[in-house]
Amino acid sequence: MLHLPDSELPDKRGKFGPYGGQFVPETLMPALEQLIAAYDEARTDPAFIAEFEHLLTSYVGRPSPLTYARRLSQSLGGAQIYLKREDLNHTGAHKINNALGQALLAQRMGKTRIVAETGAGQHGVGTATACALLGLECIVYMGEVDIARQKPNVLRMKLLGAEVRSVSSGSRTLKDAINEAIRDWVSNVHDTHYLLGSVLGPHPYPMMVRDFQSVIGTEARGQIVEAIGRLPDVIIACVGGGSNAMGIFHAFRNDDTVELIGVEAGGEGIASGKHAARFADLNIARIGVLHGTKSYVMQTPDGQIMETHSISAGLDYPSVGPEHALLRDQERAGYTYATDEEALAAFQVLSRTEGIIPALESSHAVAEAIKRAQTMRPDQVILVNLSGRGDKDLNTVVTALKMD
């Protein structure tokens, strides 16, 4: 039976070392306390876990398979690459795991209205789906820029009965969608749950989202051992807020032989300043507070949050989950980046060698796997979390590759 992990972190105050916490207006503190209590009770309640597990198997289609990328591995001539196929989940990404977990929790708390933010639209679609399934009202905030570049997901959300509210403030992307979702939540907190989509925000979100996503790593650990008789040498995942990465890293955190690698969005290159690679540019990304949590934040010397750039809307965010900040400080995980160009190239390579069209977000992880495999021996193994599929990105890719 599935179980939600019992982890050493965060502490009771939601701290991951110096990171995390609860930096929100007082109006929201009772709601966070209620959420902490409800989650604490639910995570050990066999009835809740059984319901969550039932949905993951009968509705999401879990366990998601592990696929050996034979042609890709052979063409590179280095390490063997395995893909954890979150792209095969219902709705096409890992986001549905957390959306269902939180929607069940919201229902348990008696909340009837759900607000969510979305960047690439995958979390918005996951949330709209969970709300349709459970009969909850659903409002999704999405930046104007993202609405334009993720049209198919906007239409899917609408078909699923969600209201998509366009956000035209600030950089008109994920960061601003989160601002609006928080403002909505503050104003409607009596009947509304904020279904945050990544390991971000005030405690308990970074912990709770990680736990709901930890099913990825738990499955992958069993699957890779079954496939190769041992643990992989390297695990690679893309990191925007960092939920798919935390989801796969968590089950391996105490396996010292397994190297954990997070891949941020290098955009047009670090020197260009147009990127979202927080850990790659520590002059710009300094410890700060954004959206209720303390972590690395891309900001001006004056402490104003900077606009970021990535070809993938899901990685286009100026901060990163607090647990990633700690894993980086502790050197338990390493962080690197892939540029827009490298992600686009990886997108095409995986499509042609394996018949799998990855999401542009996940293509960043594939890009790093391609680089790294060539420096490794054929008896070594890389496990990539293929967090989503690329159907939503066809417009972006067709434009970028001038395929029209």
């Binding site: 916490g21 609860q22 207006p25 009772p30 503050v186 001006t300 004056d302 949050i305």
Partner: protein, 270 residues
Amino acid sequence: MTGKERIATAFEHALRRQSAALMPYFTLGYPDTVQSLAVIEAIAPYCDMLELGVPFSDPIADGPTIQRSTQRALEAGTTAAGCLAMVRQLRTNGITTPIMLMGYMNPILAFGMAEFVRAAATAGVDGLIVPDLPPEESAELKAHAAATGLAYIYFLAPTSNAHRIALVTEQADDFIYMVSVAGVTGARSRVTAGLDRFVTEVRTLAQIPVAVGFGISSAEQAATVGAFADGVIVGSALINAYDSAESDPVAAVGRFVQTLHHALRKANAD
């Protein structure tokens, strides 16, 4: 006198004349440095205290009006350091009204918490209001504020339960900022029902003044709230008054604050 003492004295004066203290809010640097200073100087004679906002790019507790003002201030080049320089300028120009500085946590962290508090006190700030810093996270900043004699303010809201009220009243020692509605800043047409009872309950527990803000946009509402609160905070309505003025926006905001001032005094006289 320390900032804490000056804030306490402002409430005592208001109590003695038996009307609520008036604390209008204005965004520093909106629409630019010169104009915002002119507005603040124009309203100061009618205010018991001033709440001056340090712009932040992502103000999650603020509604559209104040968001727009802070965005504009940032576009005009306003920085945290620039805000402190404006306060210094106000003091040089002879404005003696106690000043509460309102700002979000990230620019304060970027400045350096200890450095910011020291620089604020030196510039002539009397206290700090940080809307994204609940009691759980406030210990360090509050300690810095205490060391320099600055007031440090905690919030309560209509959502606050007994446990939150106990937590906040235990830590607060200057005044409590009571948010009148579950929501963000911005003009609203009515005062929340039951607010008077809530304010009275909190004041009894806390034994310090309770100032009410968020949503108060007219002289009538100010008078209604002033009848039961120790302080009345009006923000977005000042920005709206500035924006909607047909001519001389500085004078328009001045006149608006004057009506608030009279409404509070008159409410008492009635």
